[in-house]
Structure formats: C-alpha cells, structure tokens
Symmetry: C2
Subunit: 154 residues, 2 copies
Amino acid sequence: MESESLLERSLVEQWRDLVARKTRVWNALELELDRQHGLSASEFEVLDTLSEYDCAEPPRVQELAAHVPITQSALSRMIGRLENQNLVTRTLCSSDRRGVFVVLTDEGMQRLTEARPTHRSVLAAELADGPSAELTAEPTGTDAVLVESGTQGK
Amino acid sequence: MESESLLERSLVEQWRDLVARKTRVWNALELELDRQHGLSASEFEVLDTLSEYDCAEPPRVQELAAHVPITQSALSRMIGRLENQNLVTRTLCSSDRRGVFVVLTDEGMQRLTEARPTHRSVLAAELADGPSAELTAEPTGTDAVLVESGTQGK
DNA sequence: GCGCACTAAGTGCACGTGCATGTAATCTCC
DNA sequence: GGAGATTACATGCACGTGCACTTAGTGCGC
C-alpha cells in the first residue's frame, strides 16, 4: 500500500499537468474571446458545436449538453442569454413537444466566424508549448495572439 | 487561410479531448471526495499541495495560489473556509507582516491522509481509460472506485 | 522622517454554475 | 383511456468564483 508511491506520483503529476494545461488554455481563451468578441469560452464552445449541425436537423438541448462540458441546466440558461443576444433561437420540436431545437442565427454564425480565428490562434499558441508551464489562473501572455488574430484590436 | 483546416481540426480535437478528460476526472473527484470525505476537488488540491511543504517553511497565500488553479482571491476565501473547519491555520509572517503563512493542522493532515486513497484511485480509474469518452458533466460511473477505495463507504 | 509607488492579502459585488425540484409532454401497461 | 412512471427542459436557491477595489505593510528616493 506504500509501495505504489512511484506509480501514484506519476498519476498525480499527469493529473496536475492536465489541469494546468487546461486552465492555462481556458483562461487565455476566456480573455481573448471576451476582449475581442464579447464571448465567454463556454459560449464559444456552444456556438462552435452548434455550427457543426445541419440547419435542417438542429440538435436538442440535451444533445448539445452531451457535447459541451457544462450541465443541462447551465446550458439552458446560457441558451437564454445567447437568445437575448440574437445569436441562437429556440424552436419547438413538433413531433415531441418537450423537445427544443437550438439553431444558430445568421448573427450568431457571423460572430462565430469572426471569433474562430482568435480561438484557433490561442489554441495554437497555448496548446503547443510546455505542458507544465508555471500555472495558471493568471492572464497568460497572449500578446502575440492579439496581433496575429487580425486588426480588430481593443 | 482556408488551407489550415487540417492542422486546425487537429488542434481543436486535441483541445476538446483535453477539456473532456479534465472535466470527466474532475467531476469524478468532486463526487467521491465530497461523498466520502466532505472535501471539494479544489480543497483537496490545496491540502495536498500544502502537505508538500516543510512545516518549518510554510508557503504564503500567494505562493500557494501559484500552484493551484484558482485565483488568489478565491484561495483567500477557501483558506477561510478550511480554517473554520480547523484543517489549516493562518499565521502572520513576522519579517513581512503583509504575508500570511498557511499551515496544515493535524486534523487537516488526517483528513488529507484519509482522502488520498480515494483521490489516487479515482485518478487511476479515470485517467487511464479512453481519452475521448462520451463526455462529461454527468456523474461518471465510479462504482468500482467506491469499492476499491476502502470500507469507509458512507 | 515623509511621501509615493508597490506588494500582500482580504472584500463587495455580480454572475455563472450545479443540485434539486418544478412543469409539461410522452410512454407504458393494464 | 387513464394512472403512474419517465423524459425534456426550465427555474429557485445557495454557493464558489473572478474582477475590481480596499486595507495594511514595505521599500525607495529625497
């Protein structure tokens, strides 16, 4: 029970690395997406996922929740917020009136298209380098990304 | 600008995998640590990090914040909560009276020691298998872990 | 010694989240 | 066809978080 130390240390290190990386990238995304496009990282993820569906067969809330790392209740509210910004719309499912289809509006598609380059370049910058960079929770130096991702500064 | 698709897709997939894995493990930890030991995943992480310091040279709040994926303000409040449970204590730094040392109490050390096997076995179970398991935000099936991690089941 | 910039930690506030529950629609089985 | 179980989504509530700011303490220049 004591001899597992080595294996366990490796697991713990792997875990901390995972958390550190995720947090670092997430924070960078949060920062840049909000600054440049007024979107949170979660919101972008939802819009981006949403865009992968055929407009003719939009996902239901539940379906969407299965592909985004938040709960169904959180998603429900987020859809409400996105709806208020006219980025998505809810439409009832006629065959099962409990169901709600979520579809990207034109405006939503546009915002997403604008934000995508920022998202991709943050990923490229932050996913690439050292897994165990200092850590986290602090705004990471993403100056290069800011420049790269276009001229829509501020 | 359009030709990067392949590379970008790979980045996005890598990113989603990272998030999915982190969320899955995190949720499992949250569930088991709370159920069995009344600790949140963040709290465990703080206590565990804390335990790596020599009692003679405890870390200051800032130092601790650099090794845990939350902000200093969140950590400040968490320390308050942990202090109320007598798991840690704050002591002033005499040489720099702005500083605050955080130290694990005996009780804190005990809770940590109890919780560690749970933590490790969740890691072993969840870190090991398929990176892109369905997803997440749902309680993952950790029945095996419950059994493995001892007889202190509720 | 005094003022000023700077750092460490704590706090008011608003907000997004999860859990538990509520409401509405559907399905099942008799 | 009607009661009860089940599913889909929304919501009340409490809570932890981040941001911006405050308070307390340090060090520097003059």
